[in-house]
Symmetry: C2
Subunit: 223 residues, 2 copies
């Protein structure tokens, strides 16, 4: 029941690609993993032999139920470490990913569950992506600009397009960071400005700013 770092990286990559594309192909995966198509084929044979894939030569592949389960535990580890790095060690949003890429391969269930508990069972990582729980359940979320978030529905800031100095200064002043949980209270037709609730304070932001802030929110749709 233990997989090599390489196997884990392949499983994770396939999982992510599956979420976007309907068929995962050899070249796509080779590209994502910065490896050669021939290497991908080799690994596909191996994962197929372990029944982690549905693989038909020349026709792409998809994760089996078991393969999906493993991918989710790897993603859980990754996102919990990201949360830890950001929340406890004060690493920036841009730094956590690559560090978590290494930490995610430490695979002791008890360690990860204790970490989860220590962090207070966070639901989203610093990028706004949902963290699977210890049973592998994931909240389904969508990523949308803040302008499209329904009122009364909370969202978590996951991305900021436009990384200009001016923009970041404004965000800092308003205390809006990656991971910030916010809720739309009111939308003003006059200038399209938006009244938000962040923690316990109410603030107002312009449409221009809101368009550059992307949030994830829990959607009812199941994948």
């Amino acid at each position: 029941m233990n997989y090599t770092i390489s196997e884990e990286n392949y499983l994770k990559a396939i999982y992510h690609l599956q979420a976007e594309e309907n068929t995962v192909t050899t070249n796509l995966l080779a590209d994502k993993l910065k490896t050669r198509p021939a290497s991908v084929t080799d690994m596909m044979k191996k994962l197929n032999a372990k029944k982690l894939l549905n693989y038909k030569p020349y026709y792409g592949f998809s994760l089996s139920t078991e393969g999906k389960k493993i991918a989710v535990t790897i993603i859980r580890r990754h996102r919990l470490w990201e949360y830890f790095l950001s929340e406890k060690l004060n690493f920036s949003w841009s730094e956590v990913h690559s560090l978590a890429e290494d930490l995610e391969h430490v695979s002791h269930k008890k360690l990860i569950d204790r970490l989860d508990e220590y962090l207070g069972f966070p639901e989203f990582d610093p990028h706004g992506d949902p963290i699977p729980n210890s049973k592998g359940k994931i909240k389904t979320t969508k990523k949308i600009p803040l302008t499209q978030l329904p009122t009364q529905q909370f969202g978590i800031v996951c991305q900021v397009t436009n990384q200009s100095e001016e923009m970041l200064e404004l965000l800092q002043h308003k205390e809006i960071n990656i991971g910030t949980r916010l809720e739309i209270r009111k939308f003003f037709e006059f200038d399209h400005s938006i009244e938000l609730k962040i923690k316990n304070s109410i603030i107002t932001i312009s449409e221009q700013l809101a368009q550059n802030i992307f949030v994830t929110y829990e959607s009812s749709a199941q994948r």
Copy 2:
């Protein structure tokens, strides 16, 4: 400047063996790493080529200055993770070692330095072993029974011989754990009982108990 997990494990093992034995031999190392002598020889050639060892075939080996430096950073990672696991995630003394064996190979200097800072720059791990600082300096310590600790000199509980129920009950009651920092205040000739200071309270323990408690303390000797 990056080493494989296998190379790191060899370097660490040699470092620890060097501290006990004066010459590290092939069989000794094979035994410690649960591998075969031939495998050790193979790796010695490799580490020698990288100038991490002083190696003379058939005559054992020792770490070069560079090899020692690397070993110390690995040990630093290991002990910081042990401290984290024990202090923050509440793992028991017996569990932390094997978990840290995996975590220690995640080798980003900045991550480890941030972790160190987050933990408050601890000086000793849960086993009472000193944690090298970010520059690689290690406090030299000795492990002695509590009965031999000089008065006015603090020590850190690192080992408890006699693991009987009765003993552990007594330790728990007195709030003496692995990692507990204590200091001898008075030694009574009459019954050889010892008055200790733990945190801010003064307690008394019997000679019998003290003989079974081992502590590390900072010695002035340099290795």
